[in-house]
């Protein structure tokens, strides 16, 4: 697969992030979708990107240490 400037897959790659962020114009969105409809190669990569976002969001969650929570509560300014 070549990736020249006029390569539709290269163009589709450029549209991937804004597509998943829902910030393409209506015309651009339709353009991306019509390419994805016929291009399995790009479609796989879009699906992967969407899964990656969900995955990153999930795995970076680290519960706050309980001691920290207690320390924060202790910072409250006492009522006079």
């Amino acid at each position: 697969m070549t990736h020249a400037q006029d390569d539709p897959c290269a163009h589709c790659e450029e549209m991937m992030q804004p597509y998943l962020d829902h910030i393409l114009t209506e015309a651009e969105r339709l353009e991306a979708e019509s390419h994805l409809e016929e291009c399995d190669w790009c479609r796989r990569r879009y699906r992967f990107e969407a899964s990656l976002r969900v995955y990153v969001h999930q795995v970076v969650t680290e519960p706050m240490p309980l001691e920290l929570k207690q320390k924060l509560a202790a910072l409250r300014i006492p009522l006079n």
Partner: protein
Amino acid sequence: MAEASPDATRIATEARDRVRFEEEALALSDQVYRVARHLAGSKEEAEDLVQDTYARAFRSWRSFQPGTNLRAWLLRILTNLNIDRGRRSQRAPQIQALEANDYYLYDKLAESDGIPVEEERVVERLSQDDIVSALSAVPHDFRDVIVLVDIGDFSYQDAAHILDIPIGTVMSRLHRGRRILKRELADSVLEDAS
């Protein structure tokens, strides 16, 4: 019964507002920590940063406008403290070298063992450690935006306000930052494989 003096009423109202503010702020602490953990360089730094943020928030609670986004207000304090601590904004030299195209990571992962699998399963080749360390390798200016938007679920508008940068800068840093993150992830996978 004698009516409370206007002063006593004012003090009571203020005390009530302050307690409410503190409770609302504390209820957000898990979410604040989640973002702080990846804005700061280490777990210890994140804990200090969150404590300093809450200490400052509790002192200056009057400057918070009720009805506005408290989580964004807390994060703005936190990012300012983070910068004050010597974490000056970087100009990110040679960033071009760090960036790869958007399909790069998938190509590397899918290539790594030749057996076609569902795209949704390909991400599972990345461990939690891979992701956390790749994220920490992304230069600060880019990482801040990824952490706020993709991990903290802040809008572009809120991220722009928190970081005090234009919304267009948020969008371009996010776009490039994700590419840098994917490049880092691809590198770590290639390292593991070699």
